[in-house]
Every structure is written in C-alpha cells, then in structure tokens.
C-alpha cells in the first residue's frame, strides 16, 4: 500500500491504542500504588466495569479479598523489574462473580527507564477451566463406571481402557492398550469384528448388541456392547468407543426363568394329558390281561397278547414317571427327608432282601424341609431303583442325610451310594439326558432326567460320581435340597 494512502490518523500511538482496544484480552495499566490508569474494551467485557467507573480506582477492586496478599508479592516483583508470565489466578467481576484468569504482568518504565507502573494482560480462562473440570469429571465417570469403556482406532487397536474394562476382561490398561481388540474376541467371532468396523467407518452406531467376549483367563462372558464412532474436529471417523456390559448373570437369570416357565408349561400339559392317558391305559392293560387269561396258552393269540402286555407295561411305566407325579407341586408340605427315604425303602424292602443288598442308613437331618412329597418320593425312588439295578449280584446300599450349607443356601444333603457296577465315564455326562439309558430295553431313560428337573425346580442339585475301577466301584448320587426353595416359581408356602 503506498504510504500516502495511509490514513493520517494512523500515527504510531493511535495504532497501538487501536490494537489494545481490539484485543480479546483485558489490557490494564496501573501505577505503583495499584491505581488503575487505563482500561481497554476487553477489560470492560471481562470484568464488567466501564473505563469511567474503574480508572482511578484501586486494582484491589478486581481481586478477591483472600488474594489481596498476592498483590503485595506482585508489586514487589514489578518494582524489581520482573515480569509475571501466565499466572493463573482468580479475579472478581463487577457483579461479584469470580472468574479464572491467566495474567501476564510487565513493569512499565518511563523514558528514563524508571518503573512507574505495570501493564496487566488478563485472559478469561473460566471457559477453559470449565472444560477442564468437565473433562476430569467425565474421566471420573468413565473410570468409576461398572461397564467396560474402551476406545479403539479404525484398525481395531485399543487406545484407551478404563477400570471397568479391567474388571470385565481382566487385562490392565498397560497390558492391552496398543493391542488389537481381537484379543477380546473369541476366534469364531472374528468375522463379527470386521462387520463392526465396516459399520463404524460408515459412521453407524451399534446399540446394545449382545455377543460373547473372551477374558484374559480364557473364560467366555456374555456382554451387551454399544459401539459409537469417534470423530475428529472435521467430522471424520477416526475410531470407536465401545461400552461393554457383562450380562452373564442376567443371561443366567433369563435362562433360569425360561427353564422354570418350561417346567410350568410341561407341568400343565402333563396334568392335562395324564388323566386322559393313565385311565385308558389301565383299562387296556386290564382287558389285554383278561383276554390273555381267556386264550389258550398254546395259541398264537396268547403270545400276541403277552407281547401286547409287555409293550403296555413299558408305556405305562413311562406314563407314570413322566405324568404320574410330575405336577404334584400342588402344595409343598413340611417333610423330614429321612422319613421319605424310609417310605421308599419300605417299598423296595422285599427286592433289597431277595437281591442280597444290605442297607446302611445314617440320618442326620433334624429339620423338616418344604417339598412336594410326591416329587421327592419319585426322585428317591428313581435313584434307589437305579442303585438296586446296579447291584444284580447283591451289595451294599448306603444312604446318608445331613444338614449343610452350599452355594444354594442351607439345606439337606442326601447321598445314596451303591457298590454296584458303576457308570462308565463316557456316560456320566449323558445320564441326565432324556431317553438315555444303560439298561437296554429295561430302562426308559426318563428317571434321572425327570429327577434332576424336579430337584432343580426347587432350587436344589442332583449330581453323580461313579467309578468302574476295582477299588472305587459304585455310584454316589448326591441330592441337595435347600430349606427354602430358591427358584421364583417355588415361592409358595403352605
């Protein structure tokens, strides 16, 4: 720009004054007594005083009372010709509100070089302080969250890891930050991560997605994850934040509820069907029996009817076991488990005696338990019948009861031990499956299946140990029943 076109007003002093006035920072000067001598427009905005109000007043008007001593220190420094750079402190506005400021104070000298006052540039940092506070507040929230909060870049590399993530996955931040997120994902779910990254790149968010993740110890956990893209200032997706909640417990509860609903539904169906099946079966069985008795033992009809009877017996046995007592949950009653065991043993008395089986009972349960009598009788009867079948050449049947505390609470533990043939290891996992039997045509594969359901329905546990080796031959069935049923369904009292 040619020099002659510069506006004439733009002498160096006016230029400085214009710069001072257009500054965003408060620029204030004062003399060595602390009396304000100049005041720019930004000072007016930041502190609320107009120049007319404040010029000639003490600088202490801007300083909170508790910080007045600070002022003496500053003045001493100024007198010594020192400069104070970016000192963060607090000042008071005209309206009384306190604001955070960063101040730079420099001595002002006259032409002779004597210090005659100070200039003070104050920048309002309240906003920055608020941002910092809210950031540390957010960081505290993230760190105190029960959920795992993790961020990763678009290559799936973990960039941050909170305390919740340590609790959920077992890795410390030091171990995992910088590693691939795939360390948390079971091998078979790798394709899932590719799908997630693709969605994120497209800027999509994934809400409450239920999946499985792997902990540091290798255990799998069920999690619900919400994944959102992280963008830079320009709006580009640069990574993702991932919030994962461990829902293993909730899933377990869900499974239990579904299971108990199944029990209830099966029970209702069984009740309806039982009457319609058991009575006709009784009739048909009786009629076939009578027909056989009436037919000539040497005739074909006799043989046919005999077969029919055998088949009917199998069906009847099944019907009794699945439908007979199945829903006798009617009203649980107080019962002593050892008394129920005695009742069952009475039924098997002649079989035990003729089979050469010695019975040894040690009953130490002293408190009654709330149970459905029919159901428990059925369980004991199934287990004892199995024990008897396992000892075709005789043996020893030991039955013990004792009160105990387990993870399911206080209850009674019943152990029924036989010295029979034992269950081969490969069958142990299967004996509670429906229709699995080791007894060939003699078994239905229903007994233990129903038994376990009946016990678990009341919040108890039925487990098995067995040995087929010479030294440890035999089977131990353990039945635990809590004094107070723990499933939602079993809440009813009598």
């Amino acid at each position: 720009m040619p020099a002659d076109m510069l506006p004439s007003v733009m002498d160096p002093e006016s230029l400085l004054s214009a710069i001072v006035d257009s500054s965003d920072d408060a620029i204030i000067s004062r003399d060595l007594n602390g009396i304000i001598t100049s005041w720019n427009a930004a000072a007016c905005r930041i502190f609320g005083y107009a120049a007319e109000e404040i010029v000639g007043q003490s600088i202490l008007r801007l300083i909170p009372d508790d910080l007045h001593p600070e002022q003496a220190v500053i003045l001493a420094k100024i007198r010594a010709g020192e400069r104070i750079d970016h000192c963060e402190t607090t000042r008071r506005r005209k309206d009384g509100n306190l604001i955070g400021v960063s101040v730079t104070i420099s001595p002002v000298r006259d032409r002779a070089g004597r210090i005659v006052g100070a200039s003070k540039i104050a920048r309002d940092i309240s906003e920055r302080r608020r941002r910092e506070e809210s950031r540390s507040h957010l960081a505290a929230i993230v760190d105190s969250s029960d959920d795992a909060i993790v961020s990763k870049d678009l290559n799936g590399i973990i960039t941050s890891w909170n305390a919740g993530a340590y609790r959920v996955f077992g890795y410390t931040a030091e171990e995992i930050v910088g590693q691939s997120i795939l360390r948390l994902i079971p091998d078979e779910l790798y394709p899932e991560e590719a799908m997630i990254l693709e969605k994120l790149r497209a800027g999509e968010r994934i809400d409450h997605y239920e999946t499985t993740r792997r902990r540091k110890d290798g255990n799998l956990i069920e999690v619900s994850v919400t994944i959102s893209p992280i963008r830079d200032d320009a709006g580009r997706v640069i990574g993702a934040s991932k919030i994962a909640r461990d829902i293993s417990e909730r899933k377990e509860t869900e499974r239990r509820i579904i299971q108990s609903e199944k029990f209830a539904a099966t029970g209702r169906m069984a009740a309806t069907v039982a009457h319609e099946i058991n009575n006709p079966l009784e009739s048909v069985m009786n009629l076939v029996y009578l027909a056989r008795k009436q037919s000539s033992p040497r005739g074909k009809a006799f043989a046919y009817l005999q077969l029919a009877e055998k088949e009917l017996e199998r069906v009847s046995h099944l019907a009794r076991q699945t439908l007979g007592y199945y829903r006798e949950t009617g009203s649980p009653v107080k019962a002593m488990l050892h008394e129920l065991l005695r009742d069952v043993l009475k039924v098997y008395e002649s079989k035990l005696r003729s089979g050469g089986i010695a019975v040894d009972c040690q009953f130490h349960d002293r408190r009654p338990i709330m149970v459905s009598r029919g159901e428990v009788l059925q369980v004991f009867s199934n287990v004892i019948a199995n024990a008897v079948d396992a000892m075709p050449t005789g043996g020893k049947l030991q039955i013990q009861t004792r009160e105990t505390t387990s993870t399911q609470g206080e209850g009674v533990q019943v152990t029924i031990r036989d010295s029979g043939t034992g269950i081969p290891r490969e069958y142990l996992d299967r004996i509670f499956e429906p229709f699995f039997t080791t007894k060939g045509n003699l078994g239905t594969g229903i007994g233990l299946w129903v038994s376990r359901q009946l016990i678990e329905k009341r919040g108890g546990r039925l487990s098995v140990e067995s040995g087929t080796e010479e030294i440890s031959r035999g089977t131990v069935m353990s039945i635990f029943l809590p004094f107070v049923p723990t499933t939602p369904e079993a809440g009813e009292n009598d």
């Binding site: 039982a274 058991n278 009784e282 009739s283 009786n286 029996y289 009578l290 829903r327 006798e328 009617g330």
Partner: protein
C-alpha cells in the same frame, strides 16, 4: 346277573351299580369263605369291571361300585377285607370313602388307586384329619396290583 337287591345302590345305573355280589351266593360256600373279599370302586366302568374279573380270577372275592356313596352302602353288605378305590370321583371322593370305611370297619385294608395328577390336595385333606392310605399309581400291571394287595399288612 341277579340284580334284584342291587338297584338301591345307584339309581341312575341300577344294573351296573354293583356287580359281583351275586357270586357270593352262587359259588360254593366252601371256596368262597376262604377267599378274601375286596370292594373295587372306580367311576370308570371299564376299569372297575375288568378289575372285578381280574381279582376274582386271582383268588379274591370282588364286588364293584362306581361311586363313593354306593360303595359305602355296598360295604355294609359285603364287609370287605379290602377296599381298592379310585381317588378322583364325582360326589364322594376316594379319600372321603376311605375315611368312612376305616371308621366303620377298621380291619379293612385300604388302597387308593389313581392315575390323576394333582391329587396331593385330596390326600392332604385326609392327612390333616389324621388319615394316611397306601397309594398305587395307575396304570399298573394286574400281576403287580395283585402282589401289592397281597403284600399289604392289616392295620
């Protein structure tokens, strides 16, 4: 069937109400006297009638009723050694019948017989009054039923 004296037992089913009573008189006193008598009660005719034949063929002297009230009146005539009764029946149920018979004829051996689930409440009512009876689940093979009956000890 000689039904003259039986009509009183069940008005809606005079000829069916009780079967088997006539056999007491029809058979020779010698053989009949040694056989234990059993009163079978079931509202399902086929079950009751087939059991009658089965038990008669197995050394019992059986009589049949199809409801509790008829059974109670028949018991006065027959004074049975055994009572085998269904539990869920219209009118008087099996437990009520069993309690009445136990009070009148304490020597009668009583067995309840049911294919019905959810009878625990009925059984419980008896238990609250201090009565407990042996229970057999239907269906059961006739041979096993006979064994169970013969194995029952008196009170």
């Amino acid at each position: 069937m000689n039904a003259n004296e039986l009509e009183v037992f069940r008005e809606d089913k005079p000829f069916a109400a009780v079967r088997g009573v006539q056999e007491r008189g029809a058979r020779s006193k010698r053989s009949a006297a040694n056989k234990p008598s059993i009163l079978v009660v079931d509202d399902q005719d086929i079950i009751a009638d087939s059991l009658l034949d089965i038990l008669n063929g197995a050394g019992f002297r059986a009589v049949v009723a199809y409801d509790g009230a008829s059974a109670l009146r028949l018991a006065e005539l027959a004074q049975p050694d055994y009572l085998l009764t269904d539990v869920v029946m219209p009118g008087m149920n099996g437990v009520e019948l069993a309690i009445a018979i136990r009070n009148k004829y304490p020597a009668t051996k009583i067995v309840l017989f049911s294919g019905q689930v959810g009878i625990s409440d009925i059984l419980l009512q008896g238990k609250h009054q201090g009565y407990e009876f042996e229970l057999i689940a239907k269906p059961i093979h006739p041979d096993k039923l006979i064994d169970r009956l013969k194995g029952i000890q008196g009170r």
